[in-house]
Amino acid sequence: MNDVAQQFKWVGTRPIRPDGVPKVTGRALFGADLAMPGMLVGAILRSPHAHARIRSIDTSKAAALPGVKAVVTSADFPEQKFEYVGPERVAMNFWHMTRNIMAREKVLYEGHAVAAVAAISKAVADEALSRISVDYEVLPHVIDVDEAMRPEAPLLFPDMITRGVDPAPTKPSNISKRIEYKLGDLEAGFAAADVIVEMKFKTAPVHQAYIEPHGCVARFDADGQGELWSSSQGHFVVRALTAQLLGMKIGDLRVYPAEIGGGFGGKTVVYIEPVATMLARKSGSPVKIVMSREDVFRASGPTSGSAMTVKIGVKKDGKIVAADGVFKYQAGAFPGSPVMNGCMCAFSPYDIPNARSVGYDVVCNRPKVAAYRAPGSPISAFAVESVLDVVAQKIGMDPLQMRLKNAARAGTQMLYGPKLAHNGYAETIEAILNHPGYKAPLKKNQGRGVASGYWFNAGGESSATVHVNEDGTVVVATGSPDIGGSRASMAIMAAETLGIDYNQVRPIVADTASVGYTHVTGGSRVTFATGIAVVEATKKVINELCARAAMTWKVDAEGVIWEDGHARPASSNVGDFAPLSLKEIAAKRGLTGGPIGAAAAVNPGGVAPGFATQFCDVEVDPETGKVTVLRFVAAQDVGRAIHPSYVEGQIQGGVTQGIGWALNEEYIYTPQGRLDNPGFLDYRIPVASDLPMIEAVLVEVPNPSHPYGAKGVGEVNIVPPMAAIANAIDRAIGRRLTELPMSPPKVLAAIDSGKGT
């Protein structure tokens, strides 16, 4: 954007990230890379059963093994109150959480932690685990969401009464919650429609599949003070959850952020941190726990599989008059699937006068789901965006033109309550419509599909401190773990605000004792919310710099302005003073009042949602059913790209995860409820040779609530790909696939059957 280039010195440029060199030389320290003198190895015993009652656990033989320094079971952790806390969309229940990190009455999924040991070596720890005997009463299990909802299904919790139903059911079930959003008159809307399409969909559970397994080191001292080094998306949240689960005061636990090797939502919760801390407390020595890849697949947060029905009615001219969706999401072993998000996001790109979405949160014998990139939205969007494609074909309308006709804009009433406050969606559609590739010819067995997506994005609590060093360099500390280049964007925003060189700013991620509370790196919130904290702290520093200049010049502080990295007299009336640079003011700080620094703590409003529109070209091999993605173009409203390379990277990464979700990735269970593919060989994420270049189109509709116009960019890009690919397959071979993944056997079966699955 030319005007941006003129307007800003650093925003919109692509400098090298400040944390880059250690990451290309192998020196960056991730969760598993930390070591301490006298450190023990922690290991966790996991359930071989999908569902079983724990009659007893005998750890005596493990504890007696030479070299074993501590053994932990759920009996070591305090019981927690049964209570949903926090906003409903992301509510937590510590009664559930303590049972997830260490099973109590029952194991609820294969891989569920039941005991842990700390020993002098991995070999001793593994030997100790083999000496723990657990007496299980194996129970019938259930995994599929439709089966889990049946009245005769095995119950995970004998007293679970569905929330959100009035009057409350009298019998327990696996349905934790029902939610419903309604707008307008659904019946009248469908009655007015010229074309109505209703379809059913299923999606397989998938994993975030970050390459770095969870890893941490815990230390606990005799004075009750603990320290944790952990690879997470939010060390303040790790501190809060770990302290609660151990019954510690938050102030007694300090958490340091290790570099994090990918999270995508899956490292916003705790699994091993409370266990390592408890082992450290019992043993008196530092304890390291690193999950194996199998542990990651079996016991950490995948996202939901689902079953859905979506019905959409349109007029002949393409106007959507009614939409109805029923979304059933697996929560895994404990309540809390992202189905509420799914219901809220499903129809949000569109201005639909009559709409309803109904969601069911269903427990089943799988690991409890954790957030995964725009949690919930990609699942419901797969259904909605597929139905829209069928509708567009039936009325003979270009699918993008139909979306444009119905696009939500600022002021559109949304199904879930508020009116949309920001534009940006229509602009993404136009970007794709105007892309030369959208009209390019295709060959036999090739097809082009489009889809769109919506994601809330988030604000939330963030803190930053900015300190000016005596030579004029600047340290920016925030509490946001950097997963994909956020230190670069923080440095850019600070440098821009100060009017100094990017390389004069050193951004760091500070530990929980060194900067104010900062919520997780998630919800695409960091560049927005933590960015606002950085800019506010920087502005305070600028005020201080102006005050120091005023003191030097012996004028009123109001008589000094900050411009292009210098304090200057606000007008000639103030006096004829040569501008003072940041470096000059910093050099004299001792004479003008001492160190120069400021902190800011924010919980900003004005979050702008993310919209994405994408098209892809695929080729289907009619002999094998294999789908090859030939081209992928992804437009997204990013507000304003602070560091465009990392914004493009978010889009390319999100699209690629979506391609994996669409074509390959799935949890496969044995009849006994055991995960049959807990490794990267059989849980196949996209590799380099599977893919073309992913073209990211940055649409910039600035967010007025952010000093540089930023909107969250991390997540919405994963929402459209599954439907875009399904729509492309349908247009390539005339087969509508409604189940994910659209792996070769399913595509081949669809070809052979003469219809979609």
């Binding site: 692509r14 090298i16 990230r17 944390d19 880059g20 060199v21 990451k23 290309v24 030389t25 192998g26 020196r27 960056a28 320290l29 991730f30 598993a32 890379d33 070591a35 070999a123 975030q208 599949a209 970050y210 390459i211 770095e212 397994p213 570099e259 994090i260 090797g261 990918g262 999270g263 995508f264 690193v290 194996s292 890849r293 997963i483 994909g484 280049g485 560091h643 390379s645 990392y646 493009e648 990277g649 978010q650 390319q652 990464g653 699209v655 690629t656 995860q657 490794g679 990267f680 060989l681 994420i685 996209p686 590799v687 380099a688 040779s689 599977d690 893919l691 270049m693 992913i694």
Partner: protein
Amino acid sequence: MSKHHVSATINGEPAEFLCEPQQTLLDALRDELDLTGSKEGCSSGDCGACSVIVDGRVVCSCLMLAVEAEGRAIETIEGLARGSKLHPLQQKFLEHAALQCGFCTPGLLVAAKALLDRNPNPSETETRYWLAGNLCRCTGYDKVVRAVLDAAAELRGA
């Protein structure tokens, strides 16, 4: 169980270490030699985060026993830069923003170096197939492939 003594050349320097017979080369590098740049993502040879070059061939160090390193020349990510001068691959990864979290980056760089050592002018397709054993979940590989091709061009020109 007694430990084995292993002598090898690591990043051009003679190195000796003791290891258990069942210990992998990856474990020995990380735990005995403090070379934690090689990462464990899967311990089954599927992710490539532990890639090292052994006698000129790229291998997953999680699939090789440490005792097998006896007498061999091993290159790890820690040996890619020459002192404080980055290898062109490292520089191009930074310039192209070819890393997000950076966890798979050491393995990708080592594998890419092995590629350019034997093929100084790879096509995009050759690069993609060569790197197919190195999983990256963040980037979608787009900028990774561009960085490798750009580094290859620079190395050819140098």
